[in-house]
């Protein structure tokens, strides 16, 4: 059974008809063509689908779309386009912290939430902050360097 809901995503309101069991991740990708948010496991284990819900990072594969009603959702598309990257994104580019790029959008969202709440974290705090975002390419070395670099400025 589909029900009509309104979602506030990246500052815009979207009206969608969704089955009650459909996840926020599936609605973002399939109904709204916001495919920057990736699906790496569909079970909350990898963090590739991380979005911000009222400023906090969540696995969008574990959130039902109907439970996102009334929340402010921010996806990677709401962070910065190619021409105007967020400082976190600029740092990841400059440090060579991107390889396959599949975990990158989720990682950017988590790093954004981390630095918004704690602008000058220690390296341990950065590592703990992004521990839910699995990466198989970088060993996290340049990722951590990039986030630390942003936090110093």
């Amino acid at each position: 059974m589909k029900i009509p809901i309104s979602l506030q995503i990246n500052g815009e309101m979207y009206q969608v008809q969704v089955p009650v069991q459909k996840t926020l991740l599936a609605v973002l990708r399939e109904d709204l063509a916001l495919t920057g948010t990736k699906n790496g496991c569909d079970s909350g284990e990898c963090g590739a689908c991380t979005v911000l819900m009222d400023g906090r990072p969540v696995n969008s594969c574990l959130i039902l779309a109907v439970d996102a009603v009334g929340k402010q959702i921010t996806t990677i598309e709401g962070i910065g386009g190619i021409a105007e990257l967020d400082p976190i994104q600029e740092a990841l580019v400059a440090h060579g912290a991107i390889q396959c790029g599949y975990c990158t959008p989720g990682l950017v969202m988590t790093a954004k939430a981390l630095l918004d709440s704690n602008p000058h974290p220690t390296e341990t705090e950065v590592r703990e902050g992004i521990a839910g975002n699995l990466c198989r390419c970088t060993g996290y070395v340049k990722v951590v360097e990039a986030i630390m670099d942003v936090s110093r400025h």
Binding site: G36, G40, C100
Partner: protein
């Protein structure tokens, strides 16, 4: 030698689109009228299919196609993506859907429906009667004389790769000591963050099919898919969008034939996207191998004989395995010099998911075994482990047994020296500090520290075993910029960026002015083997450099005409051409290119080449690990890894470091945490998910210090060699040797889990 952009850590060409979420991966695509594909998988590891009834599934509204083995072409194929060269052994034992269940997850039927829910419901409506057979989950059971046969072959042992050099028995007789040990390495999964197995197939005009797929090998996937479908190669078009990591898992065909058959039957596009569980269940992982090493050595540390006998668990289908046995022998042969060497590698079918390529292609397995035993031998002989390796490994100018060719360059000694210094080898190592002085920490000295190292060498491509063909076209545009047309099989490693740097350097134009094809498209680019064997920068780089050189030659000929100066006297750099002895006589590349298009001529300056490189320069590394073993919990914590790698010229040093750092994460996982396990009675996987299959998170990763040694090759572009795979090859050996240094216990089976450590400590206490 100074270069303008080679050697610079320029940002990746695709960094901004990836970091902004705007890069479109295969699974992000949508086509009009696109259907969703799903595969029905066997719940049994080994079973005959007595009957399949698909009538209920076919009549479900929204279901467009249901396929079983009966609907597939009866053409056997092999998913392995290696080139069909002389010497490659292709056992063709796969069909698009299986005629018999040979592992839990074997594809028995497939559907295409209007949406995912309908496709899943359709799978539930397919009724299958199985006759369950014994599940042969271990090498011992599969090799037993009375074992059921997994395929229509005489035995489940279906390959034997022998190598004999000299006479090992005479060598063992001449030895002062003979060491014999058996090592076992488990199955591990590549775990690319984009689950392996995503293809979108769409019917094209006149019976053609276009497949967008997350692959490492566009042209070979085209070849194998065409063969499996009974089509001509030109009827299949493969397009490779950005790939979310591969590490070997996409080396060859994954699910392209199923997606293509569904699309052709439906007459509509079909997206076939594997879940994370399916990526574990039904795609190729690293081979488990049981390896017995026998080594004869003199008191002075020279070898008299080296022997490897290995039993390779290839899983339910042959794929790479019989050919993979060749490199497994190669890694062993090439590491150390010995007058007498013998190798016997056996390929074995079991009822596990088929194995294939995973970063290193057998080398991490072999190096774990060899370097563990070398550590024991060096200790027994009282020889410094670094000296022992340097004394016995083949070096520049000597014959390298992997290829049979002379070694072009070797930076191992520098790797050893710099790595040892960085880890504190002479101060911290227990044996080095005079023995029995193990550093202990923890409340009651229960945590013990140790240092270990491992050496490795690896390839730059697979010549002469395989051909390493690449093709490149460089065309200079009328404004002086250029396009590089290349089958860009970058899966995240950064080869696309390095090749762009190579082309810009050779052509003499700014890096920003050169654009490379961001995808691979078999209708557009020339034949390229793809991303395997760490070959892209070396082999592809040579083709790209060659094409740029041809274009440059034509550019200079044109400029010579315009400047009325012989072409040999002209130089081109940073988009400017000038006369070497009179820099005031100059033209921009843009002026020359414009004149070519619209001035005195009417042509575009284009350089094109298809070739394979002249050599296969080995790369070397010494990796060092410091660990702390908690003797109360059994937990091994890696405190630091130093990875000193001779990569030849580093085209993009940051990207090279990134390759090593990421590989070390996989290497630590191989050593300590990763094992894809199944129930040994039923064959059911126990951990096909990222909660129970443990890859390292950001808090688990120790500091990694990378040291780049750049012993330039003779045959590589600007002296480049390779780096794609080598970063994890020696890691597990270094960690196992560090664990030995810490607690004096030798682990011959990976991963070294807390349970194994505690059991070993307990056993030692009891005895």
């Amino acid at each position: 030698m100074s270069y303008s952009v080679v050697g610079q850590s320029v940002p990746r060409v695709d960094a901004r689109e990836k970091v902004s979420g705007s890069a479109i991966y295969t699974g992000d695509m949508v086509l009009p009228h696109m259907l969703v594909g799903k595969v029905l998988r066997s719940p049994h590891a080994h079973a005959k299919i007595i009957s399949i009834d698909t009538s209920k599934a076919r009549s479900l509204p929204g279901v467009k196609v249901v396929l079983t083995y009966e609907d597939t072409p009866k053409i056997p194929w092999n998913s392995a993506g290696f080139p069909p060269s002389p010497g490659a052994i292709l056992v063709e034992d796969q069909y698009i859907l299986s005629d018999k269940a040979r592992y839990v997850g074997d594809g028995i039927a497939a559907v295409a429906a209007v949406d995912e829910d309908t496709a899943i419901r359709a799978l539930d409506l397919i009724e299958i009667e199985y006759e369950v057979l014994p599940a042969l989950m271990t090498l011992e059971r599969a090799m037993a004389a009375e074992a059921h046969l997994i395929h229509d072959a005489e035995k489940n042992i279906y390959g034997h790769t022998p190598v004999v050099i000299g006479d090992v028995e005479a060598g063992f007789a001449a030895a002062d000591y003979v060491f014999e040990d058996t090592y076992y390495v488990p199955k591990v999964n590549q775990v690319s963050m984009e689950p392996c197995g995503v293809a979108l197939a769409a019917p094209d005009r006149d019976g053609r099919v276009t497949i967008w797929t997350s692959t490492q090998m566009p042209h070979l996937v085209r070849r194998i898919t065409a063969h499996a479908l009974g089509l001509n190669i030109g009827q299949v078009r493969i397009i490779k969008p950005p790939v979310g990591g591969a590490f070997g898992s996409r080396l060859g065909v994954v699910n392209e034939p199923i997606a293509a058959l569904l699309a052709l039957k439906a007459g509509k596009p079909v997206m076939l996207k594997y879940t994370r569980e399916e990526a574990f269940l039904a795609t190729e992982s690293r081979h488990p191998i049981s390896m017995t090493l026998k080594t004869g050595v003199k008191k002075d540390g020279t070898f008299t004989a080296r022997q490897l006998t290995s039993y390779i668990d290839g899983g339910a289908y042959a794929t790479h395995t019989p050919s993979f046995a060749g490199p497994v022998a190669g890694w062993f042969l090439a590491m150390y010099k010995s007058p007498n060497i013998k190798v016997d590698n056996y390929s074995i079918y079991t009822n596990a998911t088929q194995c294939g390529a995973f970063r290193g292609y057998g080398n991490p397995q072999v190096v774990f075994a060899v370097e563990s035993q070398m550590d024991d031998i060096a200790r027994k002989l009282g020889i410094d482990p670094l000296e022992f390796r340097l004394k016995n490994h083949p070096c520049a100018g000597e014959v390298w047994l992997w290829s049979g060719w002379a070694i072009e360059s070797c930076g191992l000694e520098e790797c050893m020296a710099k790595g040892a210094k960085a880890i504190g080898w002479s101060e911290k190592r227990n044996e080095g500090a005079g023995g029995n002085s193990r550093v202990t920490t923890g409340a009651a000295g229960t945590k013990k520290r140790g240092l270990g190292m491992g050496y490795m060498m690896h390839v730059s491509g697979a010549r002469p075993m395989l051909h390493e063909t690449s093709a490149a076209i460089v065309k200079i545009n009328e404004d002086g910029g250029a396009n590089l047309i290349y089958s860009n099989s970058d899966c995240g490693q950064g080869s696309g960026t390095a090749l762009t740097q190579i082309a810009a350097e050779e052509l003499g134009i700014p890096y920003e002015d050169l654009v490379m094809t961001k995808t691979a498209d078999t209708d557009v680019s020339g034949f390229d083997i793809g991303s395997h064997a760490s070959r892209q920068v070396y082999s592809g780089g040579n083709a790209v450099k060659g094409a740029a050189a041809v274009a440059k030659q034509k550019l200079l000929a044109m400029a010579a005409e315009m400047l009325q100066t012989p072409a040999e006297e002209l130089v081109v750099e940073e988009g400017q051409v000038w006369v070497s002895h009179d820099p005031s006589k100059t033209l921009s590349v843009a002026e020359v290119a414009h004149a070519a298009h619209f001035g005195s001529h009417g042509h575009q300056i284009i350089g094109a080449i298809s070739e394979e490189p002249a050599g296969n320069p080995p790369v070397y590394a010494a990796q060092f690990a410091e660990v702390e073993v908690d003797t109360e919990t059994g937990v091994v914590e890696v405190l630091k890894v130093v990875a000193a790698h001779d990569v030849g010229t580093a085209i993009n040093p940051a990207a090279v470091e990134g390759q090593i750092q990421g590989a070390v994460q996989q290497g630590i996982g191989y050593a300590l945490t990763e094992e894809y396990r199944c129930d040994l009675e039923t064959g059911r996987p126990l951990n096909p998910n990222l909660a129970d299959y443990k890859i390292l998170t950001s808090v688990d990763m120790p500091p990694v210090e990378t040291i780049l040694v750049q012993a330039a090759s003779e045959t590589g572009p600007f002296g480049a060699k390779s780096v794609g795979e080598s970063g994890l090859v020696a890691t597990a050996a270094a960690i196992a040797n560090a664990v030995y240094d810490a607690i004096g216990i030798r682990f011959k089976e990976l991963p070294i889990t807390p349970e194994k450590v505690l059991a070993a400590l307990h056993e030692r206490k009891e005895s």
